[in-house]
């Protein structure tokens, strides 16, 4: 994302297919050997990080749960994940650096190709870059540090702010929530910790960049964001990886607490290579008058199963989930969102847009729940699917659990194809059929992409155009 022009050219010249598929040759500092995940691997990860005992206990308990829980049988096909054939931890650089110059040259080059330092200079207040299991670079502008904003890897936060971690870590998404949250809890490494003090507004986004480089890799970052009362922050994550013939696994856990009157926007631009299983659990607790916005764009991966959730727990809390999924050849995007209204006069919006092409499959899976006593709820759910040919597929599984009568609810769902008349209209104005298709698809995605910062919206539209012109997949 946010790739400088000359590098874009370089990448597109080098890689016909997936444009972020370049590989970096780097001598790892340490790598857990591939194999069955055992308590000794978990203990080894914890010991290397010099963690307190409570965290090691937490990890070992999570491992037990992971081993006990069966694979989900709904959603996508998970049976091909070879858990015995993954590196659960790889460290590519000895420690996190705060200056680009000190980052391992090969890793630095990879992130430069992805445009990270340039984006940092132009429109971000802080950047974190994770390569394999560890954050290799992080930086936050002094103006924020002075105001007490904390932005660092979750590993570092465990050392520097143990009390905050003890209070919130694993509290939004308990370790036994699901099999992949348990796996993450056992082997988590890296990820972002953010704390925004009361009344502090971070005007430009903070971004984390996740890169998996090794083959048969498992990346398990863990992110925790706490927005204190009347604060605001926009966090953006981007993910890419080289393409391999064998599968890798990315399984993150993201927990967010939006306290009274705060606003948290969490934007994901997921463009993993097409050999990656992307199984992520994301959840936020939103209190009185606070607002949570998930903007979830899934372009890459082999299979994504991800349903960002919002628990509206205080009166007048608001939640929005805007998701965009593109499913091309051999891709299954199983995504959507969950909103639970647990307090009076709360409101929510779910917008889901999916595009499937070349045999790809896009599934919307959503939950809207209104608990007994949560009167005065307003909610609007719309999910639209665009299917670009006759071999692609779209499914919609909306679930509603409504225990309260006093509510305003709007729900709509559409499935469409690119209309012959729409194409004819645009081409009759001199626009080529390919470009006209892109314009229609970008227009379709606009209700989601309009929530992205401008630089990212431009980049995302370009990615969609690439998908449309067939230079990808």
């Amino acid at each position: 994302m946010a790739v400088p022009k000359n590098t874009k050219r370089l990448i597109s010249n080098t890689f016909q297919n997936y444009k972020f598929g370049f590989k970096t040759t780097v001598k790892n500092v340490f790598s857990e050997p591939k194999g069955v995940l055992t308590p000794s691997i978990v203990t080894s990860i914890s010991k290397r990080k010099n963690e307190p005992k409570w965290m090691l206990d937490f990890r070992l308990k999570a491992l037990e749960i992971f081993n006990k829980k069966p694979l989900p049988t709904w959603g996508g096909d998970l049976t091909k994940i070879d858990f015995k054939n993954l590196h659960y931890y790889i460290k590519a650089q000895s420690k996190t650096q705060t200056s680009w110059n000190n980052v391992n040259p090969q890793i630095k080059e990879a992130f430069e190709t992805l445009g990270i330092p340039e984006a940092e200079k132009k429109f971000l207040r802080g950047v974190s870059a994770q390569f394999e299991s560890e954050v290799v670079y992080e930086s936050v502008q002094e103006v924020l540090s002075k105001k007490g904003v904390i932005f660092m890897s979750t590993d570092e936060a465990l050392k520097q702010h143990p009390q905050l971690l003890k209070e919130y870590f694993g509290k939004i998404i308990p370790v036994n929530d699901n099999k992949f949250a348990a796996l993450n809890s056992a082997v988590w490494s890296g990820g972002t910790f953010i704390y925004i003090p009361k009344g502090v507004h971070v005007d430009l986004p903070l971004q984390a960049y996740f890169r998996m480089n090794a083959k048969n890799m498992g990346q398990f970052e863990r992110t925790l964001i706490i927005a204190d009362e009347n604060s605001s922050v926009h966090y953006i994550e981007g993910c890419t990886a080289p393409s391999y013939s064998s599968n890798s696994l990315h399984s993150a856990v993201v927990e967010i607490i939006a306290k009274k009157g705060s606003k948290v926007t969490y934007t994901t631009l997921q463009d993993w290579a097409h050999n990656i299983y992307n199984l992520v659990t994301k959840r936020s607790f939103v209190y009185e008058n606070a607002q949570m916005v998930w903007v979830d764009c899934n372009m890459g991966s082999k299979l994504t199963m991800k349903y960002p959730a919002i628990f509206l727990l205080g009166e007048h809390a608001r939640g929005e989930i805007h998701s965009l999924a593109f499913a091309g050849k051999n891709q299954h995007q199983d995504s959507g969102g969950k909103i639970i209204h647990g307090a009076k006069n709360t409101s929510s919006i779910i917008t889901s847009k999916s595009i499937s092409k070349n045999g790809g499959r896009a599934t919307y899976r959503g939950l809207l729940q209104v608990n007994k006593g949560a009167s005065g709820v307003k909610s609007k759910v719309s999910c639209d699917a665009l299917i670009l040919d006759n071999i692609s597929r779209s499914d919609t599984y909306p679930t509603m659990k409504i225990e309260e009568d006093d509510l305003e609810l709007a729900h709509e769902a559409t499935v469409s194809k690119i209309g012959e008349d729409q194409l004819f209209y645009l081409t009759s104005r001199g626009i080529s059929e390919t470009e006209a298709s892109s314009m229609i698809v970008n227009g379709f995605a606009e209700p989601v992409t309009k929530h992205l910062p401008m630089e990212y919206a431009v980049e995302l539209n370009r990615l969609l155009e690439m998908e449309m012109t067939g230079s990808v997949g």
């Binding site: 209309g419 645009l426 081409t427 009759s428 104005r429 001199g430 006209a436 229609i440 606009e446």
Partner: protein, 250 residues
Amino acid sequence: MKEILEIKNLHAKAEGKIILKGIDLKIKPGEIHAIMGPNGSGKSTLLNVLLGHPKYESIKGSISLSGKNILKLSPDERSLLGLFGTFQHPIEIPGLNFGTFLRTAKNIHSKAKNQPRLNPTEFIKSTKKYLDLLKLDQHFLSRELNKNFSGGEKKKAEILQMALLEPRIALLDEIDSGLDVDALKAVAKSIKFIAKKSNIGIVLITHYQRLLNYITPDFVHIISDGKIIKSGKKDLALKIEKEGYNSYIK
């Protein structure tokens, strides 16, 4: 090279049904033609065949523009050669910004004519005078293409496209339908101004004579059952209004 749209013995079908049964017509830049006819006579089919809609298939005859046979060309290629049409019911493209669309189309045409690209500022500047002419607000450009446009706005948006793309020949299908008198006046005035400025050959496709009170045609053609059965001057349109189509239809 002669800039002329020449239709010879054109036969065409849609969904298996033969609709055009031998149309002959010549239109030169600067001329104003009116094609009149009752519903179902083939007026809109003629427009769609000329512009290259994939649902319509020409089965006999030829269409040439500036001496070049265009029957095998795609709609965008025909557009770049200078053929333009407005639709009775322009289709909505949700999420597509009207201004972005218009600038994209304009720049594609400029490139084909070896003219410089317009940056957003230049584009706004060159669009302004036509917006004023059509009594449209600048803000109109930031709306989604044809989405929630009123009947009048849809027609004005079509004319605005004609103004910027500067075609050689423009076919305007029922451009007056759904317009109140004020809007009709503004649209008619704009069409005349733009046609004169860019020397465009105009074909007004219309059911009623009303539009012709505001734009005087040089030629009037009556179409019925897929054929032009009579051609004449402005007075032919007035006769139709008085006597109806029936006296011309066997």
